[in-house]
Symmetry: C2
Subunit: 351 residues, 2 copies
């Protein structure tokens, strides 16, 4: 298979971890006789520094001309401390999601057997957890009208959802559940929010098309609690943009390190693959950033194009590296000399 | 001291647990020579059944005429399954908060030494945790304009905050921090939301009045993760309505049971005290509901009126009951015969 892959490695540890994912993809290409072409473009704080724009037109055009996007991370403390700056790195990511119509963010959360002891949660709580979170990514309060009154006294954000926005991601979630444990849990706040009531109504109606899938509801406050009390109860979680942001970051503690969690952001035309950890500026350049989330994002990319065998080889390499403790310091109490690129090398060699 | 206390015990397990809190308050009154008068009024699903209104005028008037309100819980599954019902129990609670101007919801979260093993989190993670969450309670997306388009295709909720709404609760949070570990963490989503940027601006300015208090910021997604990874880092958490709802329910797992968590909702004129658990309909009438959250809410009521000695006696009674395993089944693997009222009796006798 021929794939043109746009590489937007971004800020902080983004470039280092993305570099490992590319190494791994190149090894797959060679081993399985595919042709993957990589083209890089700036995004985020580094793009602001270079062009004044967190998503330069050239970057967007490259993405539109590619088969898939491999994304690193964005964010820089110099903007975090100044959230009222007119131009911020996050805008690049949000604009990318919106422009490419990447309406479904898919985040798998798994408790690895070999890492059960790394989680702040007790082993019996997390053992066997296997969740797939479907977070709506181009609607809701992220993209609704924002206002600040002229005198700066009152601010507002509008959360808006249409039936269509809900239906398209709900279909994906139900289809995913069909090839899993056949359960979808809708997380909302239908006891307070009008948008949540629309979500509940639309999803309930649409569930009739999937009689083999059980549909469950949880208020988001309760979901935040249940995720810790008993994560095994979940199979597919379906939720809106902001709730998905919070619940999926919370769920990352199950795996023992946020450095393990990959994600896919897909729409009808484009698809982007991205570790869920951020730019982690404190770790930049130190060789301590865990590349596994980025490498597993590359595996999700392959799955997206039906290359399951190839993806499985990457996943097996990851499991092996975890078993043998060839891991960065976030997962390794004994050795602190195993660097980002050594983990990449190990998985590359495995392939 | 003379206090008129309105009792709104509400739905599900509300009445059973509130009954224990009243027993305990009566014991305090006798022991310390106070005069507490209790008057009951309906709220929630039971009020809808009786009057069609989840917050009858008589109930609101009773609250306005009282010194404090002891609240139980509201909610009934017959409404949860039908979130588009025109009248819902939650509306009673929200209207009560708004009408009485209860803008600050205060939720203490503590890891009890004797219960460290009950939490899904590992002991070394939670040991020593002592957090006070200040959640804004009468603004934000809970009370903003809600719309459903005529054709039912588009729904929206407006999240709105004014400088004044932010300032008044922020002052309370900073003052609380001054008598604690002198740290306030503002939880927001300032990288996306205009309202969060206003919160960050206003709170940063106001922090100058409290030079002895350290101010920290966390995005809500990261906060949801940090609450599990390292809850001891927190002292006072300050946040808006919806984020506070999610983060405080999540934090309840630290204590080992949501049945332990009390809250106070205060404004400039009125104050209400309430366990954070809901109506828990599955447990209603079985004698298994944990009354401690309600009893500790009564202790918060006493503290609100400066009766610290009295509140401390209640807290000591609670600690004792936990030490001796005089606890309901949620905290007790060995005995399942210790009922709601036995726990209440024990603490009453202790006093
Ligand atoms: C960086 C930020 C805007 C983003 C989000 O909130 O969506 C991030 O937290 C994520 O989850 O990808
Ligand atoms: C019942 C519901 C409306 C309420 C809320 O969301 O505020 C509850 O979850 C709470 O936290 O007191």
């Amino acid at each position: 298979m021929k794939l043109n892959i746009a590489v937007l490695s971004g800020d902080g540890i983004g470039p280092e971890v993305t570099h490992q994912a590319i190494k791994v993809l190149k090894a797959i290409a060679q081993e399985f006789d595919h042709s993957f072409r990589f083209k890089e473009a700036p995004v985020g704080a580094i793009a602001i520094d270079q062009t004044g724009n967190p998503l330069p037109d050239d970057t967007l055009q490259l993405c539109e001309a590619s088969d898939a996007i491999l994304f690193g991370a964005i964010g820089d403390p110099k903007y975090d401390n100044n959230p009222s700056a007119k131009v911020r790195p996050e805008q690049g990511l949000l604009k990318l999601r919106k422009s490419l119509g990447l309406y479904a963010n898919i985040r798998p959360v798994k408790a690895y057997e070999t890492l059960l002891d790394k989680s702040p949660l007790k082993e019996h709580i997390i053992k066997g957890t296997d969740i797939s979170i479907y977070r709506e990514l181009t609607g809701g309060i992220y993209f609704g009208k924002k206002q600040l009154s002229e005198d700066g006294q009152v601010a507002s954000d509008l959360c808006e959802y249409s039936r269509e926005e809900i239906e398209r991601i709900a279909h994906l979630a139900f289809k995913a559940a069909q090839s899993r444990k056949k359960k979808v849990t809708l997380v909302d706040k239908a006891n307070v929010l009008e948008t949540s009531r629309l979500w509940r109504k639309v999803v309930t109606e649409l569930a009739k098309d999937y009689p083999d899938v059980e549909l469950d509801f949880l208020f988001v406050d309760n979901a935040a609690m249940q995720m810790i009390l008993n994560p095994k109860q979940f199979d597919v979680i379906l939720t809106e943009n902001l709730f998905g942001d919070v619940i999926s970051d919370e769920a990352s503690v199950i795996g023992g390190s946020i450095g393990l969690l990959a994600s896919a952001s897909v729409g009808d035309k484009y698809a982007m693959f991205e570790p869920i950890h951020g730019s982690y500026p404190q770790a930049t350049g130190k060789g301590i950033a865990n590349p596994i989330a980025s490498i597993l994002s590359a595996a999700m990319l392959l799955e997206h194009f039906g290359l399951y065998k190839e993806a499985n080889v990457i996943k097996a390499g990851v499991e092996k590296s975890l078993q043998l403790h060839v891991t960065t310091p976030d997962l390794n109490d004994n050795f602190d000399h195993i660097t980002t690129s050594k983990v990449g090398d190990f998985i590359e060699d495995f392939i």
